[in-house]
């Protein structure tokens, strides 16, 4: 507790004890917005788990602050032209926290685990395409795929594709005791309370780490996270809701970090319903909604207007030009489509305050083109059951549904395929518009069939153009990722994909 610590310190000073300037351990404390589920990213779908693990368990390839691929445990990599073979050169001189050397065998153990679908791990599906893992020498790993998959490099960079110590995989429950190669060593996890990490003195990059301990607290109440930051109980707050950012800004000792995200918020239009089969209606909906105003209302202005189905920081993004707001045009399109007097729609959404604000705003905007919207906010679990477990495309009740998708691989494939390809129809993945277009499906498939970046870029450009044209959803906003940080702290920041990094944390004194 801050007060006692200070009091103890001042008591010590007043007593004039002959202590030299005490060497204070440099501790980093971080408040996260969710409780931690598992320390094993292979078996988690949660950003909070990926974030905490990122300092302990490293990947072959990682992202920099702008979602560009950078080497971590691999030094270089390449894919074959047919996108079926991917080769990784590994960093030498790395050891796991338990002393096991890091080599191709270790990577193979992890990749095999991910590829083994019988493990029932949450992320097994990422490696479903992997056929075999080869280790031609101690520091080379080769992935042979069953079929071409152009997005494999980004998949390997996915925050869940970490490398555990093979010994730990065999001997420990890695869900609770992660052993990796990272700058920090896992020390303890008190579920619901905290995770404590300690400095790894033998880290392969001798320049790092620069703090002695890192402690993560799950703090689900946003206002509490902010209070902890302002009272210096934590130095970093991951996920700062827009409405609380002012409190942080107004404090001299703290700052607000803001980066554009890669989560695109949409209102999917159920294209199996007659009213949305007409492209003019779908375009009219996009034109009727004022996205700038949406961002102001929902995110207090902290967001950007989408101009493509995917966000600018997603790999292979290509701008299609924002729809803009044009009520005249929207009304004209509705009239052309025979819906001058509008119609009724049912919009499903989320029942938290942000979700309800979204729904209400949309309802108001659509009324301008005479569309009468019934909004249905749903509790998280109920929503996920109705939308992702038991839904049947033919009988789905909703006309429109709110949703946000973030491609955790940072690659266009993991946004376009789940949300806009025919294979992604809910409940399978996330295509809630039941959108199906041959050109798009073909382009997505083409892009996966090659390892050549230019060819992939071209294919994704085609897909983005077609999707934008067809407007299977109302594109609403790309939400900025915000965080709060104590001034003087660097190397801790949030990523566009919603995770955070802290491996290079450092205090400037």
């Amino acid at each position: 507790m801050t007060f006692l610590k200070r009091a103890a310190l001042s008591a010590m000073l007043m007593a004039g004890t002959a202590l030299a300037t005490p060497v204070l351990a440099e501790d980093l404390k971080i408040a996260m917005d969710q409780i931690f589920q598992k320390m094993d990213p292979h078996n988690s779908n949660y950003n909070v788990d990926y974030s905490v693990a990122s300092g302990v368990l490293e990947r072959l390839i990682t992202f920099d602050a702008n979602m560009k691929l950078v080497p971590q445990l691999a030094t270089e990599w390449e894919g074959s032209d047919d996108a079926k073979t991917f080769t990784f050169k590994l960093r030498e001189g790395v050891t796991f926290h338990d002393g096991t050397p890091f080599d191709a065998a270790a990577v193979k153990a992890n990749f095999d685990r991910l590829a083994d679908q019988s493990q029932n791990l949450a992320k097994n599906s990422l490696f479903k395409v992997v056929d075999t893992v080869e280790t031609p020498d101690d520091y080379t790993v080769v992935l042979n795929l069953k079929e071409p998959f152009g997005a494999m490099i980004n998949t390997v960079a996915h925050p869940s594709v970490v490398i555990h110590s093979p010994k730990a995989l065999e001997e420990l429950d890695v869900q609770k005791n992660p052993v990796g190669t990272g700058p920090f060593i896992f020390k303890e996890w008190i579920p619901g309370e905290r995770v404590v990490l300690e400095k790894n003195d033998d880290y392969w990059d001798s320049e790092w780490p620069k703090v002695d301990t890192v402690t993560f607290y799950p703090v689900t109440e946003s206002a509490t996270r902010v209070s902890m930051l302002l009272s210096d109980e934590v130095q970093f707050v991951h996920v700062l809701p827009a409405e609380l950012s002012e409190r942080v800004e107004n404090d001299d000792s703290a700052e607000v970090l803001e980066v554009p995200g890669i989560t695109v918020w949409t209102a999917s239009l159920n294209m199996l319903k007659d009213k949305f089969k007409d492209q003019r209606v779908r375009r009219a909906f996009n034109l009727a909604v004022d996205q700038e105003a949406f961002i102001d209302v929902v995110y207090s202005g902290h967001g950007v207007v989408p101009d493509s189905p995917i966000a600018p920081d997603t790999r292979f993004y290509e701008s299609q030009g924002a729809f803009g707001t044009d009520l005249e045009e929207a009304r004209a399109l509705m009239k052309e489509a025979g819906h001058e007097d509008g119609f009724d729609v049912e919009i499903w959404g989320i029942n938290n305050s942000t979700g309800v604000r979204m729904l209400q705003f949309l309802q108001q905007q659509l009324s301008q083109i005479n569309v009468r919207a019934k909004i249905v906010p749903m509790e998280g679990a109920t929503r996920s059951e109705k939308l992702f477990s038991s839904v049947d495309p033919e009988t789905a009740e909703f006309d429109m549904v709110m949703g946000g998708w973030s491609p955790s691989t940072g690659d266009a494939d993991w946004h376009l395929r789940p949300v806009y390809a025919t294979e992604g129809w809910v409940p399978k993945i996330y295509n809630m518009a039941f959108y199906s277009n041959e050109t798009v499906d073909q382009a997505i498939a083409d892009a996966l069939n090659t390892g050549d970046a230019d060819a992939r870029a071209e294919a994704y450009a085609t897909a983005q153009k077609q999707i934008w044209e067809d407007a299977p959803a109302v594109w609403l906003a790309i939400e900025n990722k915000m965080a709060g940080r104590k001034k003087g702290l660097s190397g801790v920041f949030q990523m566009p994909d919603g995770t955070m990094q802290y491996a290079k944390a450092e205090y400037q004194n």
Partner: protein
């Protein structure tokens, strides 16, 4: 009396059994699929199915219930669907923070409520009484969430005297227990007030005055002791609720207690944890109820146990 106590304990078994059926059915009737929730919104259907198999959620309900009851009987509450941790361990860990928080909140609020209630009763109709009862109504109606943040802002952020949240040392109990107890204190004050006012009309109070006893003794000894029965009943009830863990206060103060555990468990439809916690709450309530009944006999020897 021991006999009465043992019989009451035995009577709890069928009650708990009925509760177990009710709880099981209720939880499984809730919409929401734990496998899907664990997988996360962006998971593919294949991912969801693999989780479902891993958790045995594809078994028929009746077998899941039999498992649940078998677990209860052996006091092994199974494993969390979400983390795989033994539920008994999770509950054991969350129990004490909630317990101490409840005790602190209860102790201060009951003491405060008693004193405020008695003073209000004695000065019935005075401005002090009205002010006190206004405070009490405010205490009941003020949202815990708001009060908690207010206290945190002032004492932790502004003055820096206390930690904002978490439970690392005893002083961390202060703010959450103040927040949690505010409503209870208000309820206790109102209850005590009306109980004392009722007792003050009793003949034996007139007798006490006719003996020439000091007013202080008349009220604090003769009236209060008799007013304790409804007050203790209410305190017991409140304690039962407190021990369930306050979801709001625990969330605001990052309290690693039963309320937080339940909230997470419900959000993820973590059946094993929700079921076990609700069984625990039921048991706590029954035990507190029994304790209160036994306490009656100490407060008022005229109460007999049958």
């Amino acid at each position: 009396m021991l006999n009465y106590f043992l019989r009451r304990l035995a009577a709890m078994v069928p009650v708990l059994f009925l509760i177990s059926i009710f709880v099981f059915l209720f939880i499984h009737a809730l919409p929401g699929d734990p496998a899907r929730l664990l997988a996360g919104e962006t998971a593919t259907q294949a991912e969801v199915e693999s989780i479902r198999r891993a958790l045995n959620l594809d078994q028929p309900l009746i077998w899941q219930y039999v498992d649940f009851v078998a677990n209860l009987v052996t006091l092994d509450l199974g494993n969390s669907l979400r983390t795989g941790e033994p539920v008994s361990q999770m509950i054991a860990r969350a129990f004490w923070p909630t317990f101490w928080l409840s005790i602190c909140a209860l102790v201060w609020s009951v003491l405060f409520g008693l004193v405020a209630g008695v003073i209000s009763a004695v000065r019935r109709g005075s401005p002090g009484d009205h002010a006190g009862m206004f405070l009490a109504v405010s205490g009941i109606s003020m949202p815990n969430f708001w009060l908690g943040l207010l206290l945190m802002q002032y004492f932790s952020v502004h003055l820096g005297w206390l930690g904002t949240s978490g439970f690392d040392e005893p002083s961390d109990l202060i703010l959450p227990s103040l927040t949690l107890g505010a409503g209870v204190a208000a309820v206790m004050a109102r209850f005590t007030r009306s109980a004392v006012i009722d007792v003050a009309r009793e003949d034996f109070i007139r007798t006490a005055r006719a003996k020439g006893l000091r007013e202080r003794i008349v009220i604090w000894k003769h009236a209060l002791r008799n007013a304790l029965i409804p007050v203790v009943t209410m305190a017991g009830l409140q304690f039962g609720f407190l021990l369930g863990g306050s979801i709001v206060v625990e969330k605001v103060f990052r309290w690693p207690g039963l309320g937080s555990l339940l909230l997470d468990a419900i959000n993820f439809r973590d059946y094993a944890v929700v079921q076990s916690e609700i069984m625990l709450f039921s048991l706590q309530f029954l035990l507190i109820n029994l304790a209160v009944d036994m306490l009656y006999g100490f407060i008022n020897p005229a109460i007999r146990y049958k």
